[in-house]
């Protein structure tokens, strides 16, 4: 039966190591990926919410590769596995800054992983999406280019 702490189907394509090594890291990990954040969600807000599950060791904000501004995701690391599991159980799928956030296991933060991997610098999902999301720069990048080429709609 599906539990709230099991691995999702996401695997980091840039992970240095085999699939099974990645899965082993994920099963032992105390680091979480947090997604669907607003670009304006602050570290303080993340810290306050995730501290309800345990002692937060580190928060790394996900940044646009070029602008170096938050682009809607972050990593939260705890000291112990049970605390991270609590976040998976009680925070995943609830609201932060009035948005339903996604919490998933992460193999561990390494320098470089804080940057969006989309072509225009943010997250890949913001390249292609077609909905309007005021907290994530409006329309997706490709669509905004079509609507108003050569303008920065942020």
């Amino acid at each position: 039966m599906a539990t709230s702490i099991e691995l999702s189907s996401y695997r980091d394509q840039h992970f240095k190591g085999s699939r099974s090594e990645q899965e082993r890291s994920l099963r032992d990990s105390t680091t979480l990926y947090v997604g669907n954040l607003s670009f304006y969600t602050t570290e303080e807000q993340i810290h306050e919410l995730f501290s309800r599950c345990g002692d937060v060791r580190l928060i790394v904000m996900g940044l646009d590769k070029y602008k170096k501004t938050p682009c809607g995701f972050c990593f939260v690391e705890y000291y112990t596995r049970p605390e991270a599991e609590a976040a998976m159980r009680f925070v995943n799928g609830t609201r932060l800054d009035d948005r339903l956030i996604r919490v998933d296991w992460d193999a561990g933060f390494i320098e470089g992983r804080q940057y969006g991997r989309g072509k225009t610098g943010g997250q890949v999902r913001d390249e292609y999406r077609t909905d309007y999301d005021a907290g994530r720069g409006g329309y997706g990048k490709l669509l905004s280019q079509k609507i108003a080429p050569n303008t920065d709609n942020r």
Partner: protein
């Protein structure tokens, strides 16, 4: 092909069989056993008619299967019942249906169950023992065990209550065991052994009203409410009252699960068995040791009365056994499923749907909040309860949002009488709950609290609630949501203050140089040199430098952590003694006076990077007594205590040394509390209620609750502190009742 799994099963191999045939037969019986195990476990998930079919089918399967190890079946049943004590009816019916066709199985059942029951008692496995007793009670209902022998067993259990020398906790537990069984089997006793039942009740009566000394001291500490308006009866007394009322209605109880009724005609043909009560040991139950303890007393919790339920649903009264049954069932679901919030919510909703006439939803909210607020501690994280409640509100918004609002209103009206520990948890839960629902709330309803004295629990609660809501969102959002009358309760904007903008201040010149150097990307070495050469007192240098770092890093945690990490060598160079460490902390509270969250995070950072010691942080905290009535400084205390404890565990493997860090720090905190409480008392002249003392004592009590296991090891020292400060108004009594509880 390896289908052999790790099982507790004993292989029953016929030595005369050929190896291959033997192997195949073993695999078959293993597979069959696993299938039966799975079906047995699933019995507790069934509902309504499907449940009856499942029980019947499984009992037929077991009867029809030859060469089955009966012990294995019983073992599985016991383990099912241990985790699902409210489902004993299901398993009793199953066992009894088998007994109809297999008398020998019934024999083995009673012998095995009684043996296991005694074993659990001997090992101090209280919950398992109780489950088995409930199963035996249901086996009477299902006609496998004779009424007389069950009565004998209960009488023997009640003998423990006559042991005058035994500790209260032991006698209470056995009384509780007997009382637990009565809702199930009381009616059978009434119909078939009325006299003996009356004797049993009389014995219980004697114990409850005369023999049992009111556990005032150990219970005193557990009261969430300081007045009589809110029901919080001691659990055993409450159950006793409920049983007396059940007795008055001739033991007719209709909420417990009784699947045996569907098979009445068949079960009544069975031959019953007698419990081998003559084989019971003379001394029942474990002798209390340091590791085996009898369960502690606890208090009931009620938020709702029958009038709180909507007109189409009935909420049983507090002294109604039905309330006990509903609560027990919900507690069981919570215990089983609390880690999976969706499953937990679903199971609770299924249970509610199975009782469409009763206000089960109200009970669910009451149980969840009651456990969350209970003293000394909640078993699970506050956010655990919160996430289940959010899930319930998501699944049935029309009902649960309303009930939660009702509950919150009740709690709000009683804030003045609520234990501080519970109040703080209420703040934490409600702020998180609101953050999932856009902070929508009828704030106008609570407007009256803005006119109360600022330290009164109601405005304080709202103030702390706003602070937490702002941490989860942001100030402007909350400000525009609440009526203007709340202005006084809104915290000031959490902006930083950099005083060295004022060029006339001593140190302003150094501040300018430092800022310029850092912004100009000077090396750490040169910045350090700059500071070192400045002709100022060390503490002033520290203040200036620290404020510069905090000012430059004011944008976010990441910014300030980066700066502090980079320039740590400079700080290390400056800090030589505890006064210097205190100077670092003063700088933090000056710059971020209006931002509790940032103060917490920065102080933690100073501790973790070993720039400041824990005891200096305590000095700093208690050096701001006017702030002690707020939550955040105690948040810092909790944090540094936890850190010290974890740190010690890492530093050494020597157990006595591991605790030393914690022990010293904890006693230090208590000493400081005593000091500020006494000082406050001496200077407090007003006639009005001393709320400040209420908050400080309450937070200290909270601290004591959060670390009971560890504090037990320093009970002596704690008692000494109480003796030392005997003139301090309420502190010695608080420590005394706490020590009485944790022994």
């Amino acid at each position: 092909m390896n289908r052999r799994r790790q099982c507790t099963m004993e292989e029953d191999v016929e030595m005369s069989e050929r190896p291959a045939k033997r192997h195949r037969r073993e695999c078959d019986s293993l597979e069959l056993m696993l299938r039966i195990e799975k079906l047995l476990v699933m019995l507790s998930d069934q509902h309504g008619d499907m449940r009856h079919d499942a029980i019947e089918d499984l009992s037929s399967l077991v009867c029809d299967t030859k060469q089955l190890r009966k012990i294995q079946i019983l073992r599985i049943v016991c383990s099912c019942v241990a985790t699902h004590p409210m489902q004993t009816g299901v398993y009793a019916t199953f066992l009894s249906l088998v007994n109809v066709r297999d008398y020998e199985f019934g024999c083995e059942t009673v012998n095995y169950l009684q043996r296991q029951f005694v074993k659990h008692l001997k090992l101090g496995e209280w919950s398992e023992a109780r489950s088995l007793l409930l199963l035996l009670a249901d086996l009477v209902n299902a006609n496998l065990v004779t009424v007389g022998s069950m009565m004998q067993l209960l009488s023997k259990l009640l003998d423990v209550c006559d042991e005058e020398e035994s500790p209260q906790a032991r006698r209470d537990f056995f009384a509780y065991l007997v009382m637990s069984a009565l809702p199930l089997v009381g009616r059978e006793f009434y119909e078939k052994k009325e006299m003996a039942l009356q004797v049993l009740i009389k014995r219980l009566q004697l114990y409850m009203s005369k023999e049992r000394c009111a556990p005032e001291r150990s219970v005193a500490m557990l009261h969430i409410w300081s007045h009589r308006e809110m029901p919080q009866q001691e659990y055993l007394e409450l159950l006793w009252q409920q049983l007396l009322r059940l007795e008055r209605s001739n033991w007719i109880e209709q909420q417990l699960l009784r699947p045996h009724l569907a098979f009445d005609d068949r079960l009544s043909t069975a031959l019953q068995h007698v419990l081998p009560t003559q084989e019971l040991p003379p001394q029942l139950g474990a002798v209390a040791t340091s590791t085996i303890r009898y369960p502690k007393t606890r208090l009931g919790f009620r938020l709702f009365e029958p009038s709180d339920a909507p007109s189409n649903l009935r909420l049983p009264e507090e002294l109604d056994i039905e309330r006990y049954v509903l609560e027990s069932h919900i507690l069981e679901l919570l215990q089983l499923h609390h880690l999976e919030r969706k499953l937990c919510a679903n199971q609770m909703l299924i249970y509610a749907a199975s009782k469409p006439q009763l206000a089960v939803e109200h009970c669910i909210v009451e149980v969840l909040l009651g456990q969350m607020l209970q003293l000394p501690q909640a078993p699970y994280l506050i956010i655990n309860y919160g996430s289940i409640i959010i899930e319930l509100c998501k699944q049935q918004p029309s009902q649960f949002s309303q009930i939660v609002a009702q509950a919150v209103d009740v709690l709000f009206t009683q804030l003045e009488f609520m234990s501080v520990s519970s109040l703080d948890r209420f703040v934490m839960w409600f702020s998180h709950h609101l953050s999932n629902f856009r902070y929508q709330w009828n704030w106008q309803d609570w407007e009256c609290c803005t006119r109360l004295p600022p330290l009164h629990p109601s405005p304080m609660f709202v103030r702390e609630l706003f602070k937490r809501c702002m941490r989860l969102s942001y100030r402007e959002y909350i400000v525009q949501l609440v009526p203007d009358s709340y202005a006084a309760l809104l915290p000031p904007p959490p902006d930083h203050v950099f005083k060295y903008i004022d060029q006339l201040l001593p140190g302003a010149s150094l501040a300018n140089h430092v800022l310029q150097a850092i912004r100009g990307k000077s090396s750490v070495l040169s910045v350090g040199g700059l500071v070192e050469e400045a002709d100022l007192e060390v503490d002033l240098k520290i203040n200036v430098f620290m404020q510069c770092c905090l000012h430059l890093g004011c944008k976010s945690f990441t910014h300030v952590f980066a700066i502090l990490a980079k320039f740590q060598p400079v700080l290390q160079m400056l800090v030589h003694n505890e006064d210097n460490q205190l100077a670092i902390l003063s700088a933090i509270s000056e710059v971020w006076a209006t931002n509790d969250h940032l103060q917490l995070v920065l102080v933690e950072k100073m501790l973790k990077t070993q720039l400041v010691k824990a005891n200096v942080i305590v000095d700093w905290i208690f050096g701001q007594p006017e702030q002690l009535c707020h939550m955040y400084l105690w948040e810092v205390i909790e944090s540094i205590i936890k850190f010290t404890k974890n740190q010690s565990t890492q530093d050494t493997n020597e157990p006595s040394l591991q605790q030393q860090g914690f022990n010293e720090l904890f006693i230090y905190v208590v000493q400081w509390c005593a000091k500020v409480l006494t000082e406050h008392e001496m200077s407090y002249e007003q006639k009005e209620t001393d709320y400040w003392t209420h908050w400080v004592l309450g937070r200290l009590q909270s601290l004591l609750f959060n670390h009971m296991e560890d504090v037990r090891g320093i009970s002596q020292q704690l008692a000494q502190v109480a003796a030392q400060w005997e003139h301090c108004k309420r502190l010695p009594k608080l420590i005394e009742s706490y020590l009485a509880y944790i022994q």
